[in-house]
Symmetry: C2
Subunit: 230 residues, 2 copies
């Protein structure tokens, strides 16, 4: 369902009636449901942990995602927006993404948590810098790494060292994650004019290309950190 469109130049502040703009509500709703599913996924993946220490580490990350979820819900409350209503448009795409990328084992779940979540976070950050305060600061704060990075890098590198053949499989897996994420991002973009407008409205095609290049460069650095070819 297409939302009522509005000029991108309005996207950085409330409209004349003092209502929060649709782009802010959309980004908060998308992030809230993203954090809730990240919580569920990490908590479920914790069951695949090879050791008790790994299980505790993953459960702690899941709990951190839930506190992010609560922080975003607090911001939606402050803006007077119904939280479930704000999340509703993003349940379908996020569920489809997770259903099509269910990790087969512990290593795939680590790569997904690290590669998948960070490419999403980078994308959200590009949008968030264009939000009005204090939503902008809240979102940027929530997007800060919750310790996935060091943990995933350490475990994945150790696994590759122990058995170099897993690197090829995990590199393919990461490529599939990016492909599925782009598919769902496109689906969201088609449906949510306000959110897309926020991203497109700030510049021309060169600016969009620059955003895409930044995302891909950061993704390449993360793959290299894991010891995988991008």
């Amino acid at each position: 369902m297409t939302q009522t469109s509005f000029p991108p130049t309005d996207a950085s502040g409330p409209d004349l009636a003092g209502q929060p703009d649709q782009a802010t509500v959309d980004l908060l709703g998308l992030l809230a449901y993203g954090e809730l599913t990240a919580f569920e996924r990490l908590a479920t993946d914790a069951r695949m942990s090879p050791t008790l220490g790994d299980k505790i580490a993953l459960a702690a990350m899941a709990a951190a995602e839930f506190s992010h979820f609560q922080a975003i819900c607090g911001e939606l409350d402050r803006l007077g927006v119904d939280r479930e209503h704000a999340m509703a448009p993003f349940i379908g795409p996020l569920t489809a993404f997770h259903n099509s990328t269910a990790p087969a084992d512990w290593l795939e779940s680590l790569v997904k948590a690290y590669v998948g979540d960070n490419i999403a976070a980078d994308f959200y950050r590009e949008i968030a810098t264009r939000l009005p305060s204090p939503s902008r600061e809240l979102v940027l704060n929530v997007l800060d790494d919750t310790g996935h990075a060091a943990f995933a890098i350490d475990r994945v590198r150790a696994a590759i060292e122990a058995n170099p053949t897993v690197a090829g499989r995990l590199a393919l897996w990461a490529r599939r994650l990016v492909g599925e994420a782009l598919t769902q991002a496109q689906r969201v973009g088609v449906d949510r004019d306000a959110l897309t407008g926020l991203l497109v409205g700030v510049g021309d095609l060169d600016a969009l290309a620059a955003i895409f290049n930044r995302l891909m460069a950061a993704h390449g650095r993360r793959m290299a950190a894991l010891g995988l070819s991008a």
Copy 2:
């Protein structure tokens, strides 16, 4: 593996070397792993939630269990006890309990969260009152209800009202939960002399019978609150 036994009269304080007594370490280890698995289970069950509101409610309870887990780990740290070592003896029995009582649907998971967790909590409370301070206060605080009760009662009663035939199935399910819990409690009791000693050491057979009667009476009240026959 049977632990070194010690007289039950020593169970209420540190031994002569200033080490925490085995019963305290055992109860904290049992509770810590219990909270960690409760977290995992609630977070996994959240995926079965029929509505987004139910999902959020269950995820919030799961996050509360994880904060309990962290509180108990903090107490183990304070006592200078390795947390994973303290939890290790209880991984087998708790995993066996959860594997043999995997809920088939949303209602079974609610009954398990309410009936199963509370009968366990009542039992832990009976032991905890015999622990030295401040472990005693910490455990009693952690065992406080995290909102399961009102939520589960509301949802289960509504489901029975909508379809009275589910009451029989859920009553059978609750009986199976109690049976499996007793089986695993016995297994823990055989292996962990210190923990059993703490419970038995305080009194005679009459006192033990009184504890059992209190547990069963509280269980019966919870079943009645759900609208189920005990």
